[in-house]
C-alpha cells in the first residue's frame, strides 16, 4: 500500500538526465556536508568507545585510536570483574548493559505490539461498525491529543505508585499499551480507505465482525500496521522521563535510564567517557539493525505519518 502510493506521488518520469553543472556540483557538495555532519558524531562515539580510558588525555583527537580495545564494551556489558572494570576507567558500580538492552527491547516491543493491536481494533470499530454515539466517542478519544504528556505524567505516576506497580514492566507500559489517540486516528483513516466489497464478500460467507477483522482486514493492513508499530517502537525506544520515574531499579532499567544513571556514577571530575560512549553505541546498534532490515518501510512511513 505504502509503496504504490509513494510511487504514484513520485510520478513515473523519475529524473531527467542532467549534466553536472556547477550548480549541481555545489548542491551535491552541500548534501555531502549534511551527511558528514549527520554521521560523523556517531563515528566519533564508536572511536571513543574503542579507546582505552587511560589513553584519553594523550589520544583523544586522532582519526583512529592508537591502541584499539574492546574492554569498554566488555565492562559496560558486565562481562568483566569489578576490579578489571575499575582499572579500565569505570566507577566500580555494577553496570549490566546487556540487561538494560533486553529491558529496552521488552519495553518497546510490548508497547509497540499491544498498542498497535488495540488501536487497530478501536480504529476498525470507528471505521466500520455501527453503534450509537460512535462519532461522539471518537471525537472525545481524539480530543486526548490535546493533553500534553507532561500533564498526565504526574497523576499517572501517582496512580502507578499507588497500585504498587513501580519498577514493574506492567506499571511502565500500562499508560501506553491500551491506546494512543494518534494511532486510533491513523488506523481508522486507513480502514476507511479499504474497499467495502472485500469485507462484504466475507460477510456473505457468514463471518462475524470479529472474523472479518482478523481474517480479512488485518492481513491486508500489514503495511499501515507495521508503520504504526515501527514508529511506536522508535518512540518507546527513545522514551526517557516515564521509565526514569517508574522503572529505575536494575530489574526494569531501560537503556536511556541506565545511561543517565551511569553518567552520574562517574568517579572523578571527568565523566567516564569511554564507558559512556560504549553504552551509547549499544543504544544505537538496534536502531541500525532496524534501519538495515526495514529502512525503506521506515523512511516511507514518514510520508504519511507526518502529513497524512
Amino acid at each position: 500500500m505504502t509503496s504504490t502510493r509513494t510511487r504514484t506521488g513520485t510520478g513515473t518520469g523519475t529524473r531527467t538526465r542532467t549534466r553536472p553543472t556547477p550548480g549541481r556540483i555545489l548542491a551535491w557538495a552541500l548534501m555531502t556536508v549534511a551527511l558528514v555532519a549527520t554521521l560523523f558524531p556517531f563515528y566519533w562515539m564508536v572511536r571513543t568507545a574503542l579507546t582505552p580510558a587511560a589513553d584519553l588525555y594523550s589520544d583523544s583527537t586522532g582519526p583512529l585510536p592508537q591502541h584499539p580495545t574492546m574492554i569498554n564494551f566488555w565492562r559496560v556489558l558486565g562481562l568483566t570483574s569489578q576490579e578489571e572494570a575499575r582499572a579500565a576507567g569505570g566507577s566500580g558500580a555494577q553496570v549490566d548493559f546487556l540487561r538494560y538492552l533486553l529491558n529496552s527491547v521488552v519495553y518497546s516491543g510490548l508497547i509497540a505490539f499491544l498498542q498497535t493491536l488495540f488501536c487497530a481494533m478501536a480504529g476498525y470499530a470507528f471505521a466500520r461498525l455501527r453503534f450509537p454515539g460512535r462519532d461522539a466517542v471518537f471525537g472525545v478519544l481524539i480530543a486526548a491529543l490535546m493533553v500534553p504528556p507532561i500533564f498526565t505524567v504526574l497523576p499517572n505516576f501517582v496512580l502507578v505508585k499507588n497500585l504498587g506497580w513501580l519498577n514493574t514492566f506492567a506499571g511502565m507500559v500500562a499508560p501506553s499499551v491500551l491506546m494512543t489517540p494518534f494511532a486510533v486516528f491513523f488506523l481508522r483513516q486507513f480502514f476507511l480507505s479499504i474497499p467495502r466489497e472485500v469485507e462484504e464478500a466475507a460477510v456473505l460467507d457468514g463471518v462475524g465482525a470479529w472474523g472479518v477483522f482478523w481474517r480479512v482486514v488485518m492481513p491486508m493492513s500489514r503495511g499501515p500496521l507495521l508503520t504504526i508499530g515501527l514508529t511506536t517502537a522508535v518512540w518507546a525506544w527513545k522514551d526517557y522521563l516515564w521509565p526514569l520515574l517508574t522503572g529505575r531499579e536494575e530489574e526494569t532499567r531501560v537503556l536511556t535510564v541506565a545511561l543517565g544513571i551511569f553518567q552520574q556514577q562517574s568517579p572523578n571530575t571527568q565523566p567516564d567517557w569511554t564507558g559512556l560512549m560504549a553504552g551509547s553505541t549499544l543504544s544505537v546498534l538496534p536502531v541500525l539493525v532496524i534501519l538495515i532490515l526495514l529502512g525503506r518501510r521506515l523512511v516511507e512511513s514518514l510520508n504519511f505519518t507526518g502529513i497524512k
Binding site: T6, G9, T10, T16, R24, A27, W28, M31, L35, T38, P41, Y57, S60, M121, R128, L129, R130, F131, P132, V137, L141, L145, M146, V147, P148, T152, L154, P155, V158, L159, A174, L178, R196, E200, V203, G206, G208, A209, W210, F213, K238, Y240, L245, T256, L259, G260, Q270, P271, L276, S280, S283, L288, I290, L291, G295, V299, L302, F304, G306, I307
Partner: protein, 317 residues
C-alpha cells in the same frame, strides 16, 4: 458518506448468523453490532478512561491542592496559581523555553527546508534518506551524551579543532550564554533530518510537470524554489512547523542529561521546572499548576494543528 453501504453489511450479518433474538428485525441487528463494538473498543476505552481522562481530572485537582507526594492533598483553591504569578523561576522558565523554541525551530526549519529541497531536486535515494534519519532514531539521552563529549571543554573534539584556529576552550554547556544555543543546536542536529523528510514527502506531492515546464521556460533553481516549491508546500510547511513547535515546547531529555537546567537556570525550561518541582521538591500540587499552564499553551497549538491537518488533506490528498 457511504452510509447506506455501512448499514448494509452488518444487517446482512445479523440476519444470517443469529436466530436466537426473539425481538423483531431492527433492534436486534443494532444490538448485535453494538456488542461487537464493545469488544473492539474495550481496551482503547479503558486506556482512555484510566490514563487520559482520569489523570487529566486528577491533574487539575492537584493543581488546586498542596499535594506533596508525601502528604495527602488539601484543597487550597487558587493558591498555587497566585504563587505562580509571583514566581520569578516560573517566568524565567517560560522565557527560557521561548528562547529555546525560537533558536531550535528557527535553525531546524531552515536547515530542514534546505535539505529537503536538495533531496527533492537531486535524488530519490532511500539509503540517503535512511542515513539522514539516524539522529532522530537515536534516544535523546544518547544524543545529549554524544554532544557533551564532542563539546567537552578539556578533551572534546570541537574545542580541539577550535583550538587550531586560536579559539580558547569554550564550555559550551557550562557557560550561561552558550548553554541554551548549544542545547538548541544539539536538538536541531537531532531533528533536522526527520523534519527534512516530512517536508520532502510534501514536496513529492507537487506535480513534476510544473518544474519541467518552468525549466523549459528558463527558470533557475532559485526561481523554482520561490515560485513553485514554497507556495505549494505551504500547507505542509505550516503543519510540520506546528508539529515541531509542539515538540519543541516539550524539550526535556536533552536538558536532563546535559545541563540539568543550569548554569544558574539558563536552561531550566518549563518541562524541566515541572519535573524538578514534582520529583526533586515533591511539590506535586504546584508542579501540576505549572503543567496546567503548559497544557493550555500546547492545547492552543494542537487545535491549530488539527485545523491544519484537515486543511492540508483537502488541499493535497
Amino acid at each position: 458518506m457511504g452510509a447506506s453501504t455501512a448499514i448494509a453489511s452488518p444487517r446482512q450479518r445479523g440476519g444470517s448468523r443469529t436466530g436466537k433474538g426473539a425481538s423483531p428485525g431492527r433492534p436486534r441487528r443494532a444490538r448485535d453490532d453494538r456488542r461487537a463494538a464493545w469488544l473492539f473498543l474495550a481496551p482503547a476505552l479503558a486506556g482512555f478512561a484510566l490514563f487520559y481522562a482520569y489523570p487529566t481530572a486528577r491533574g487539575v485537582y492537584y493543581s488546586l491542592t498542596d499535594y506533596s507526594l508525601l502528604n495527602d492533598p488539601h484543597f487550597t483553591g487558587t493558591e498555587n496559581y497566585r504563587q505562580l504569578i509571583g514566581d520569578d523561576q516560573f517566568w524565567n522558565a517560560l522565557k527560557v523555553t521561548g528562547y529555546y523554541v525560537v533558536l531550535n525551530i528557527g535553525s531546524q526549519m531552515i536547515l530542514a527546508l534546505g535539505l529537503a529541497t536538495l533531496m527533492h531536486r537531486l535524488t530519490r535515494s532511500v539509503a540517503l534518506r535512511a542515513m539522514l534519519l539516524v539522529p532522530w532514531l537515536v534516544p535523546n539521552v544518547t544524543v545529549g551524551l554524544l554532544w557533551m563529549w564532542m563539546l567537552d571543554a578539556n578533551l572534546g573534539l570541537v574545542n580541539h579543532l577550535l583550538g587550531a584556529f586560536g579559539v580558547g576552550p569554550t564550555g559550551f554547556l557550562t557557560s550561561p550564554t552558550w548553554a541554551m544555543p548549544t542545547v538548541a543546536g544539539i536538538n536541531a542536529w537531532a531533528y533536522t533530518g526527520y523534519t527534512a523528510l516530512l517536508l520532502y514527502a510534501g514536496m513529492l506531492q507537487i506535480p513534476r510537470h510544473l518544474y519541467e515546464s518552468a525549466s523549459l521556460d528558463g527558470a533557475g533553481e532559485w526561481r523554482m524554489f520561490t515560485r513553485i516549491t514554497l507556495p505549494l508546500l505551504r500547507p505542509v510547511l505550516a503543519l510540520v512547523l506546528v508539529v515541531s513547535l509542539i515538540g519543541s515546547f516539550q524539550i526535556f531529555d536533552t536538558i536532563a542529561v546535559t545541563t540539568k537546567g543550569g548554569p544558574v537556570g539558563a536552561t531550566r525550561v518549563i518541562y524541566f521546572y515541572i519535573y524538578e518541582q514534582a520529583f526533586t521538591y515533591f511539590h506535586m500540587g504546584y508542579a501540576s499548576a505549572v503543567a496546567v499552564i503548559l497544557a493550555l499553551l500546547l492545547g492552543v497549538l494542537t487545535a491549530v494543528q488539527m485545523r491544519l491537518l484537515r486543511a492540508s488533506r483537502s488541499d493535497l490528498a
